[in-house]
C-alpha cells in the first residue's frame, strides 16, 4: 500500500470537504485564467478601439479658429495656419504624451470629380509615425508611401475603376482605400510629405498657383496620451510648455469609454482577487477542520511509526491532489467557456473574449495550476505543520 492510496482514501472518505476544496481550487485557477482572458481581451479591444478613435489631442498652431470637433480626431483641421515642424519634438517631450504624428493640410479641392462629395481634401501624413490612419487599414497595412503614392478615403473613386488620379495635374497612385469612417476623412486623399512637396513644386510652376504653403511646416500634431494619464492634464501641459500651440482635446465620448473599460478591468481584477482570498481563507479553514478531525488518526499513524515528515506529507499531498485536479477542472472550464461563449461574452461586456495563442495559453494554464497549487499548499501547510509538532499524547487523547 502506498502513501498515495492513503491520501486518495482520505480524499474519498470525506467527499464533502474534498469537494469543497476541489471547488475552491478550480475557482482559483478558473477565475484567475478567466480574468486573464478578460483583461487580455479587453486590452486588445481597448487598444483597437482607442486606436481607431484617433488622437486624444490634436495640437494646432495658436490662433487657429476653434472648430467644433465631434467624434474622432482622425485628421487635423483644414485651416490655413501652419507651425514649424520642430514643435513636434517639444510636444513629444511633454509628460504623458505617448506618440505624436504630424499632418499637413495641403488643400481643398472643390468639384474634383473623384468624389460625389462637394469637396476633396489633400492631407500629408507620416506613415512611419502615424497611429491614426493605420487602424483603419488594419487588414492590409502599408509600410511606407513612396513618392506619388496615396491612400484614399472611402468616398474617393479613381476614374474608370482604376487607381490613378491627378491632383493639380500631379499623378497619384492610390495604393489603398480606407475603411469607411464617416466624416471628412472619407473624402480625403492622404499622401506622404515627400509627395506633398512634389505637388507643391508642381503647382508653383503654374502661372497661377492654386495654393502656396511652406513645405517644412505642419498644420497639426496628432497626439496620443499614455494610458492612465488624463488627456485634459496633458493638453494643459502642452498649452503651458509649448508656446504657439493650441491643444484641442478629443470629445469626451472616447474618454468615457476608456474609463469604463478601465473600470471594468479593475472590477474584474478586484473580484478575482477577492475570490482568491476568500477561497484561501475557506481552504485554510477546511484544512484546519480536517487536521483537527484527524488529530487521532495522525496520533495513530505517529504511534505506528510514521515520522512527522511523513504525516505532513500525507496532509500536503492531499492538498496537492485536490489542487491539481480542481485546478485542472477550473482551467478546462475556463478555456471551454471562453471558447464556447466568447461571442455572448463579447456582446455583453464589449470585451473581445478570445483565447490567446496556444503557447501563451499553455503558459497561462500552467500559471493557473501553479496558483491553485500554491494556494492550497499554503492553506494546508499551516494546520498540518502545527499538528505535527504537537506532543503525541495530546493527539491520541480525545
Amino acid at each position: 500500500m502506498s502513501l498515495l492510496v492513503l491520501v486518495l482514501r482520505n480524499i474519498s472518505g470525506n467527499l464533502f470537504r474534498s469537494g469543497a476544496i476541489f471547488l475552491c481550487a478550480s475557482l482559483v485557477a478558473g477565475l484567475g485564467l478567466s480574468a486573464t482572458f478578460v483583461v487580455r481581451g479587453a486590452e486588445t479591444g481597448l487598444r483597437q478601439n482607442l486606436s481607431r478613435m484617433g488622437a486624444d489631442i490634436i495640437a494646432v498652431p495658436w490662433g487657429t479658429m476653434s472648430q467644433d470637433f465631434d467624434g474622432a480626431h482622425l485628421m487635423g483641421m483644414m485651416t490655413e495656419r501652419w507651425m514649424p515642424r520642430a514643435y513636434m519634438e517639444k510636444i513629444a517631450a511633454v509628460p504623458g504624451v505617448e506618440a505624436t504624428s504630424p499632418q499637413l493640410y495641403v488643400s481643398t479641392w472643390a468639384d474634383s470629380g473623384f468624389t460625389t462629395r462637394p469637396e476633396l481634401y489633400v492631407v500629408a501624413y507620416e506613415p512611419a509615425t502615424d497611429f491614426v490612419l493605420r487602424p483603419w487599414l488594419e487588414n492590409d497595412p502599408i509600410g511606407t508611401l513612396r513618392l506619388g503614392e496615396g491612400v484614399a478615403g472611402a468616398a474617393i473613386q479613381a476614374p474608370d475603376g482604376g487607381q490613378r488620379i491627378h491632383l493639380y495635374g500631379y499623378p497619384i497612385h492610390l495604393l489603398r482605400s480606407l475603411e469607411e469612417v464617416g466624416g471628412d476623412i472619407d473624402q480625403t486623399v492622404f499622401i506622404s510629405f515627400e509627395t506633398a512637396l512634389a505637388i507643391l513644386e508642381h503647382v508653383q510652376m503654374e502661372a497661377q498657383p492654386a495654393f502656396e504653403i511652406n513645405p517644412h511646416t505642419i498644420s497639426t500634431a496628432m497626439v496620443k496620451v499614455r494610458l492612465g494619464h488624463s488627456p485634459h492634464d496633458v493638453a494643459v501641459s502642452i498649452l503651458e510648455q509649448v508656446p504657439g500651440v493650441l491643444p484641442i482635446e478629443s470629445t469626451g465620448f472616447f474618454q468615457t469609454q476608456r474609463s469604463q473599460m478601465v473600470g471594468l478591468l479593475r472590477t474584474v481584477l478586484a473580484l478575482s482577487g477577492l475570490t482568491w482570498m476568500l477561497s484561501l481563507a475557506f481552504m485554510g479553514f477546511a484544512f484546519t477542520l480536517a487536521a483537527n478531525e484527524r488529530r487521532r488518526q495522525i496520533g495513530v499513524l505517529r504511534a505506528l511509526g510514521a515520522t512527522r515528515g511523513l504525516v505532513l506529507k500525507t496532509l500536503l499531498l492531499e492538498g496537492v491532489v485536490l489542487a491539481l485536479s480542481g485546478g485542472a477542472a477550473g482551467t478546462i472550464s475556463a478555456v471551454l467557456s471562453a471558447f464556447l461563449f466568447r461571442e455572448q461574452i463579447a456582446r455583453a461586456t464589449d470585451i473581445q473574449y478570445t483565447l490567446p495563442p496556444p503557447l501563451a495559453l499553455l503558459g497561462m494554464v500552467a500559471a493557473g495550476l501553479v496558483l491553485a497549487l500554491l494556494s492550497v499548499s499554503a492553506a494546508a501547510w499551516f494546520p498540518a505543520s502545527r499538528l505535527c509538532r504537537e506532543e503525541m499524547v495530546v493527539t491520541v487523547r480525545e
Partner: protein, 226 residues
C-alpha cells in the same frame, strides 16, 4: 526491558493550572512479562503507556526501553523504533475508516523497513485469520462490530512482529463475553510469541490473564485496592 526511575509527568493545561498525571513512579518490566495495569479513570494509566513508548516525555525521572530513552531520539529514529518494536492497541477506535481490514493491518508496513510486498499481505491475512476474521478481510471498520474492530487493531499491532505490545483498555467498549474472548486472544498471542505485554484495564476481573498486576492510583503505583 522497560525501566522507569522516579518518573513524574505534569501536563500544563491552558491557563496556569497543571495536572500531575504520573507521580514519582518507579517500575521494571522484564522481557516476556504480561503486565496488567489497573486503576480508576484518571489514575495515569494511558500516560504511563505513552511514556513507555516515548510518545510523551517525563517531566522528571528516566524512562528506558531496552536501555534507550526513546523520547530523546530524533524523530526519524523514534518513529522507526516504534514501528519495529512496539505494537499499539489504543483506548479509542483507531482503525482508519477509509481502509479495509487488510489495509489497516498493512498500515505499519508503510512506515518501516520490515516485510513488504506480497509477503506482507500474506502475513496480514494470516494475522486476521489468527484473530478470527477470515471472512472480514475486505470489510471497512464501519461494517465491523466493536469486538471485530478491536481484533483488527490487535492484528495490526502484531504486523511488524513487535517485542512490546502496549494495549490501552482494549476491551472497554465491549460486552463481557467479547471482553474475555479478546483477553484470551492476548493470552494466546503472549504464549505463542513471547511478546512483552503491557495491558491497561480498569476491570479488576481481568487481572488473571496476565503474569503480573500493577495497580495505579493518583499517578502512582499502589498496593491498596481502591
Amino acid at each position: 526491558m522497560i525501566s522507569l526511575q522516579n518518573v513524574s509527568k505534569t501536563y500544563s493545561v491552558r491557563g496556569d493550572s497543571s495536572v500531575l498525571a504520573v507521580r514519582n513512579l518507579t517500575m521494571q518490566v522484564e522481557k516476556g512479562e504480561f503486565v496488567i495495569i489497573t486503576g480508576r479513570s484518571g489514575s495515569g494509566k494511558t500516560t504511563l503507556l505513552s511514556l513507555v513508548a516515548g510518545l510523551t516525555w517525563p517531566t522528571s525521572g528516566q524512562v528506558l526501553l531496552d536501555g534507550i530513552e526513546v523520547w530523546r531520539l530524533a524523530d526519524k529514529e523514534q518513529s522507526l523504533l516504534r514501528n519495529k518494536k512496539i505494537g499499539f492497541v489504543f483506548q479509542f477506535p483507531s482503525l482508519l475508516p477509509t481502509l479495509t481490514s487488510v489495509e489497516n493491518v498493512l498500515l505499519p508496513t508503510m512506515f518501516g523497513d520490515k516485510v513488504k510486498g506480497d509477503r506482507s499481505r500474506d502475513r496480514a491475512v494470516m494475522l486476521l485469520e489468527q484473530v478470527g476474521l477470515n471472512d472480514k478481510l475486505r470489510s471497512y471498520p464501519r461494517q465491523l462490530s466493536g469486538g471485530q474492530q478491536q481484533r483488527v487493531v490487535i492484528a495490526r499491532a502484531l504486523m511488524n512482529e513487535p517485542q512490546l505490545l502496549l494495549a490501552d483498555e482494549p476491551t472497554s467498549d465491549l460486552d463481557e463475553l467479547t471482553e474475555h474472548e479478546i483477553m484470551a486472544l492476548f493470552r494466546n498471542i503472549h504464549a505463542l510469541t513471547g511478546v512483552t505485554v503491557l495491558l491497561v484495564t480498569h476491570s479488576n476481573d481481568l487481572a488473571g490473564y496476565g503474569t503480573r498486576l500493577i495497580r495505579m492510583a493518583g499517578g502512582a503505583i499502589t498496593d491498596l485496592d481502591d
